[in-house]
Amino acid sequence: MGRYLLLMLPLILLAAGCAVPVKTEMGDVVLPAPVLEKLPVTVGVLYTDEFKTAKHTQKVSVIEYIADLDLSLGLANISLFDQLTTSMFSNVVYIDPNSPEELSKQDVDAILEPSLVSIHYGAVINGIQWSFSLSLTYNVKLYLPDGDEILTFSIQSNPPPVLKVRTIFSFNDQARELFDSATREIAAQFYAEFSTLPEISNWLNTLEKEGGTRGGLSQ
């Protein structure tokens, strides 16, 4: 530990008070294939332009530095929800938010529209060990093709920060590592809880009574 401190000391003195830019694009989200029985429905997935081009800027004070975060999240958002929806539903079609007329043409049981509600990085410091912390929240809105809402499911992740002796050069990796942990937690929550929600059971029961779904329920 002392050796790390000696190595870090010149860096700390040199960079004291400096803002360190962390400009990065969160790319593909890597998730394991879930052990899951797909819901036998056809769902239209609608990614808004805001969701597809989401960015996050924030300044986070870490020891003597300021991490100047400028993160592009659009690709990661799409990668995450592509995996969640194709694993959860037996059929998925994509709906262009800029062509509302397309909605009526799509033969879907429901429309799923995710949104990024909040993302916030903090810093956890214990002596010369530190880590970013992260709070990440998505909303998943599910509604019928006629616009009636089935439910809005909120998923929040606060992965535990791993305190280590780190340098300013690890700001970028830290932001990514924590985002990866958070998206894994988001996915676990979606897979484990979404299909058990009473609103989903009611919706599936209604579809069954009405003579089946586009995805194959009761057909």
């Binding site: 998730l31 394991p32 535990p160 894994r184 676990a188 929550q189 897979y191 484990a192």
Partner: protein, 309 residues
């Protein structure tokens, strides 16, 4: 005995180890797979380095067996062994195994045992010798030698997926000695590797067990669950009976009331750990640096019951 520090405390964390068994267990539903797979999940931290301790030892005992890492196992059963969802009672394991697709997946992996490591603690204690650091005229530095005993305890639950109610709890303990030599600079010489030794002993016990032998120091899972329930009730009771007027080293105006009873402090700590707001406030009071606190600081117990200041 004076405890110097608790290096690692995973009491509230859970490591999970699955042992993939092959054809050595005839007559059960496990697919033929001549190997062992190990996975460890520790609380919310998915890639904890400490999982290597037991994994490495199990691999070393039989190189022919397959040993999977914790992440590989969790990935194979995603999301059911993520920290928030991992089962850790007989009831939860039974419910997990009853879920659609789980048995088939487990059979295809050849898994029979899931081992939860419920405690991995290393403590330093019984320091002997003399050590001095400081300045004196033309000299400065540290001089002397002190030896410190080190003890590691590792406790695991061995879940038998073919017979969950017959799962067992076991532990391994190992001790060693470390030396700190002072000659201008303090030089810690790590002679003991009690953690590695405890992992080795635990790996040996597990290997013997899965090859058909007896599990040493084992007790039924029902006893462990009963103890845990008792502990939970104790915490609940602590919240209920905690009274800041009795258990206190509290600031009331300019008056400080000191508490000397160790039992009362223990109650305070339990209540604070269990989430009691006032107890937490009271403990936080001792960490205030903006005021002078004339009382003796409180004493707290470490994981194995030693008093630390």
């Amino acid at each position: 005995m004076k405890s110097l520090s608790s290096i690692k405390c995973f009491i509230s964390r859970i490591f999970l180890i699955s042992i993939i068994m092959g054809s050595c267990f005839s007559g059960n539903a496990i697919a033929a797979n001549d190997g062992i797979a190990v996975f460890i999940a520790i609380g919310g931290e998915l890639n904890n380095q400490d999982e290597k301790c037991l994994t490495k030892e199990l691999r070393g005992l039989d190189t022919e067996r397959t040993v999977l890492t914790g992440m590989e196992f969790r990935d194979s059963l995603f999301p059911f062994f993520e920290p928030k969802y991992a089962p850790d009672t007989v009831e939860e394991f039974s419910a997990f195994l009853a879920k659609p697709g789980i048995k088939a997946r487990i059979e295809s992996m050849g898994i029979r045992y899931v081992v939860s490591v419920v405690g991995l603690n290393t403590n330093l204690h019984d320091d002997k010798g003399a050590f001095w650091c400081g300045f004196a005229m033309d000299f400065s530095g540290c001089y002397g030698m002190v030896s410190v005993d080190e003890t590691t305890t590792i406790a695991t639950i061995v879940w038998d997926l073919n017979d969950i109610e017959n799962s067992r709890v076991t532990n391994a303990v190992s001790s060693g000695k470390n030396v700190i030599v002072g000659f201008l600079l303090p030089l810690p010489l790590k002679i003991a590797n009690s953690e590695g030794q405890a992992c080795r002993e635990m790996a040996q016990q597990l290997t013997t067990y899965i090859e058909g032998g007896e599990l040493q120091n084992a007790s039924p899972i029902s006893e462990w669950e009963a103890d845990r329930e008792e502990e939970r009730q104790k915490k609940e009771a602590a919240i209920t009976v905690y009274d800041p007027n009795v258990v206190t080293a509290y600031e009331r105006g300019n008056e400080y009331i000191s508490l000397k009873s160790s039992e009362a402090w223990e109650l305070l700590c339990i209540a604070a750990n269990a989430g009691h707001g006032k107890a937490q406030e009271e403990l936080a009071f001792w960490h205030r640096t903006d005021i002078h606190i004339p009382n003796e600081p409180p004493q707290f117990r470490d994981d194995v019951g030693h008093w630390v200041i």
